[in-house]
Subunit: 447 residues, 2 copies
C-alpha cells in the first residue's frame, strides 16, 4: 500500500494545441481540486517555460463555471511551449520551483517530446530523493504516441477532417467543367489524420486518393492516378499528408530547411499549392489546393464528444493514479478486442494497469456535465491503463502498412473500423450570440 | 387579378455554391410540388448549360425525405455553371426547350451574373410573347447583391468565418514566442465576408486588423500596423480579403492574369502566403498564413439556422409570387428598421412589395421541419419583398465607407449590428456515423 502524499499539484500543457487539450486540463484541475491530499492546484504558464520562470497560476481561484467551459475551449488555455529540457541546470531549476511551492504532483499534457520531458523530470526527482508523482497526460492530433490505442485530440481532428472533406467533395463536383482538388492535411511522419479523410466515405463523399507519409511518394504514379481519375470522373479529390516524402527522404513540400520550430522539425506547409501547380501543368484541369492548416487542430465546434469524454477521463485518471501512488507513467487507452477496430495499442511492453480501469460508461459518467447523450457505435470500449513513460517518449506510432492499400493510394477497412468510433458524438458546447463561449480564466499569478 | 397560369416549373442553380443554396432549392421544389397550377417540376443539370443541352431532372420523382435533406446539404445539388448567355441563339435554344416541356415557371438561383441571365430570359420571353414567369432567387456568400438587405448564403459563411477566427485566435496565442497570423477570406470586391471576422469579438477572440477590398491597400501602413500590434501584444491576428488592391487597382495577391474563371474574373488565392512572406521578412516573427478557401462556402455544419430558414423562404416566396402573377423580379429581404442593424437594402429604386410579406415567425413556420427553435436576437425581422431584376443584375453592393473605421483597418459597430442577427441559430442537421447525412437525389432524367 502506497503512503498518502500530501502537497501541491502542478499542471502544464505543451506542444501544439488540440480541440480537446483543455478537456484534459479540466479533468486534472477538477479532480485535483476535489482530492483532499492535494493542498493546492497550480498551472504553469506556457508549459515548462512557466515552471523555469516560476510563472504559475493559482487554479483554485478560478470560477468553477469558467473552468467547466474548458471542456469545449480549443488550444492550450494556460499557454504552451516547444521548449525541450536542455541540461541538468534546467532540472535543478525545476526542482527549486517544485520545492518552493511544495509540488508533489506533476501532470504534463503533451505529445512524444513532452513525455520525454516527463520522464527526465521523474528520473531526476527520483535521483534527488524528492517525492513527487509524475504522470504524463497524452495529447496530439497526430495520434503518433506509442503505447496507447489512440490519443486524445485525434478523434476531434479526424471528425473535423472527415466532415470537411465530405463538404469539399460536394463543392468540388458542382461545375460541369470538372475540377481536381488537393487537400493538405497535417501529419509529419504519421498518416492517421490524412487517413481519416477516408471516413467521408460514410457520408457518401470520399476522397478518390489518399497519400500517407508512411509510403514513399512517387510523383509519376501520383500524376498518372490523379489524371486517370479526373478523366474517368471529370473530378478528382485527393487527400495528401504534409509529410509525404520522396523515396530518398526529401519532403515533397520542399520545406525551406531554415524554417524550423523549436524542436528542430522542419516547418511544413504549402504542399497543396505545390502539387496543384504540378497537376495543373500536367492535366490542364482546374486545380484547387486547400491546406486545412490550424483549422483541423482548433475546430472545437466539431470536436467529437467521445474525444472530449476521453480527454477529460485521461486528466482525471492521471490524478487518481498519482494519488494512488503511481509515478513515471503515461495515461493510455486500451481498446477492448472486437470493439470497433483492432487494438493497435502497444508496440512495446504492455504496461501495468493502473488503479483506474474504466470503460465508456464511466467516461460518460465522468463527463456527465458535458451533456453527452451518445458515445460511439455502442460496441466500442476503451479502458484506461498506465504505460511506462519510457515506452511512450520519443517514438512515433505510424499507420501499419497493412492498413494502407497495396498501391499506397488509400486506407483499408481496418483503418476505418479503427478510426470511426473515435469521431462519434456531437458536443454540446456553450454558445452566446451564435458564437462559441470559451472559458475565460483569470489566471491569477501565485505570489 | 392575374390569370392563373398552368404549366411546368424549371429550377436551376448557378455560380459558386453556398452552404444553403440547396435550402432555397428545397423551398422552390417543395412549394412547386404542392402548387396545383404547377403540373411538373424539373431541375436543370448545371444551370443554364442543362437547359441549353436539354438535360433536365424530374424532381417529382425524388423521395420527399431525401429532398428535405437539401436543407442541410451544401453546394449545388443539381450542379452549377458559370456560363453567361452569349447571344440570341442561346435564348432561342432556351425558348425551344421551354416550349418542348411547357415550362411556365422559371426560377434561377444565383448571384449578380445569374440575375442578369434571368433578366435576359424574361425580356426575351416577353418579346416573343411566350407566357412564363421568371423569378430570381438570390444566393451568394459574398453578400454583394444589390436591392436586398442581405443575401442567403452570407449568414452561414459569416458564421463559419467568425467561429473559425475565434478558434484560430485561441490557437494563435498559445506560444510564448508569439505569432502573426494572417487569414485570407473570400470577397473579390466586397468586404462583407472579411468584415464578418469582427463578429469573433462577441466570442472574446477578435482579429486585431481587418482589411477590406473597399479601401485601397497601403502595404507600408499595413506592415507598420501589424508590426506595432505584434510588438505590443506578442501576437497579431489579421483578416484580409482576397480582393485587396493597391491604389492603382492591381491586386495585392498578384493573380496570374491568365487564370480566370468562366466569367472573366481573375482567379484569386495565395494572398495569405504572399503577405506572410512579406511580414516575416519585415518582422522576423513566426508568421502563419491561412486561406479559408472553399471551406467558408461549403461548411454547412456551421450554417446559421436564420440563413437556412431565409434561404428556404426565398425559394418558397419565389414560387408563391410567380403563381400570383409576378415575373422579372428577384426575391429580396427588407429589414425592419431598428431591428438589429441598419437597413442597407436598396441603393437603387425601392421595388414593389410582392404578394408575400413575411417576417421571421413565418420563416420559422415555413421551415418548421428543420427543427429550428431560435432565430436571431429576438429583435431582428426581415420581410420578403420583390425587386425588379434590373436593379439587382450586374451591380455589386459593397460595404459602406462609414461602416469601416477611419484608418481602414477594422469595421464599425454598425457593421457588427448588421451582420450579427444573420449568424444566429444552430442548425439541426441529420447525421449518420457522426458525419453529415447529405441528400442523395436520384436525378432521373426527363425523357
Amino acid at each position: 500500500m502506497t503512503q498518502k502524499l500530501a502537497g501541491g499539484c502542478l499542471f502544464a500543457q505543451s506542444g501544439g494545441p488540440t480541440s480537446v487539450i483543455n478537456a484534459s486540463a479540466y479533468g486534472v484541475i477538477k479532480t485535483s481540486l476535489e482530492t483532499p491530499e492535494i493542498t493546492h492546484v497550480y498551472g504553469a504558464s506556457h508549459g515548462i517555460m512557466g515552471i523555469l520562470g516560476d510563472t504559475l497560476y493559482d487554479l483554485g481561484k478560478e470560477d468553477p463555471q469558467e473552468l467547466s467551459l474548458l471542456l469545449n475551449t480549443p488550444s492550450s488555455a494556460l499557454g504552451s511551449c516547444r521548449y525541450k529540457i536542455k541540461d541538468r541546470s534546467d532540472l535543478d531549476r525545476l526542482y527549486e520551483v517544485f520545492q518552493k511551492h511544495n509540488i508533489r504532483y506533476f501532470f504534463y499534457n503533451g505529445g512524444n517530446d513532452s513525455m520525454d520531458t516527463c520522464l527526465k523530470v521523474d528520473d531526476y526527482l527520483h535521483e534527488v530523493g524528492y517525492e513527487c508523482r509524475v504522470i504524463g497526460v497524452p495529447k496530439t492530433i497526430d495520434n503518433d504516441l506509442d503505447g496507447t490505442d489512440h490519443c486524445p485530440g485525434y478523434g476531434s481532428a479526424a471528425k473535423y477532417i472527415a466532415t470537411t472533406v465530405a463538404e469539399v467533395y460536394h463543392d468540388s463536383i458542382v461545375y460541369d467543367t470538372g475540377t481536381i482538388t488537393i487537400i493538405e492535411i497535417m501529419g509529419r511522419n504519421a498518416g492517421w489524420l490524412t487517413g481519416a479523410s477516408a471516413l467521408a466515405e460514410l457520408s457518401g463523399a470520399p476522397p478518390d486518393l489518399i497519400y500517407l507519409p508512411e509510403i514513399p511518394f512517387d510523383m509519376g504514379y501520383f500524376l498518372y492516378k490523379t489524371e486517370s481519375m479526373y478523366k474517368a470522373k471529370n473530378n478528382c479529390l485527393v487527400a495528401v499528408s504534409e509529410g509525404i516524402r520522396y523515396p530518398g527522404g526529401s519532403l515533397v513540400s520542399d520545406a525551406k530547411p531554415s524554417a524550423t520550430d523549436g524542436f528542430g522539425h522542419a516547418q511544413l506547409g504549402g504542399l497543396a499549392a505545390t502539387l496543384s501547380d504540378i497537376v495543373k501543368q500536367r492535366t490542364g484541369a482546374k486545380v484547387r489546393g486547400i491546406e486545412l492548416s490550424l483549422l483541423q487542430r482548433c475546430g472545437a465546434h466539431l470536436a467529437s464528444q467521445t474525444d472530449i469524454d476521453e480527454a477529460f477521463l485521461a486528466g482525471k485518471s492521471a490524478v487518481e493514479c498519482a494519488v494512488a501512488g503511481e509515478t513515471g507513467k503515461m495515461v493510455a487507452f486500451e481498446r477492448e478486442q472486437g470493439s470497433g477496430g483492432g487494438n493497435n495499442g502497444g508496440s512495446g511492453n504492455i504496461g501495468e494497469s493502473g488503479s483506474v480501469n474504466t470503460g465508456n460508461t464511466a467516461a460518460i459518467d465522468a463527463a456527465a456535465n458535458t451533456g453527452a447523450t451518445a458515445i460511439g457505435t455502442g460496441q466500442y470500449k476503451c479502458n484506461v491503463v498506465l504505460r511506462p513513460l519510457a515506452i511512450c517518449a520519443n517514438s512515433e506510432k505510424t499507420v501499419p502498412r497493412e492498413w494502407i492499400n497495396e498501391t499506397g493510394t488509400y486506407v483499408t477497412q481496418d483503418f476505418i473500423d479503427y478510426a470511426l468510433p473515435l469521431i462519434q458524438g456531437e458536443n454540446t458546447r456553450a454558445l452566446e450570440n451564435g458564437l462559441p463561449r470559451f472559458a475565460q480564466l483569470k489566471k491569477e499569478l501565485v505570489t
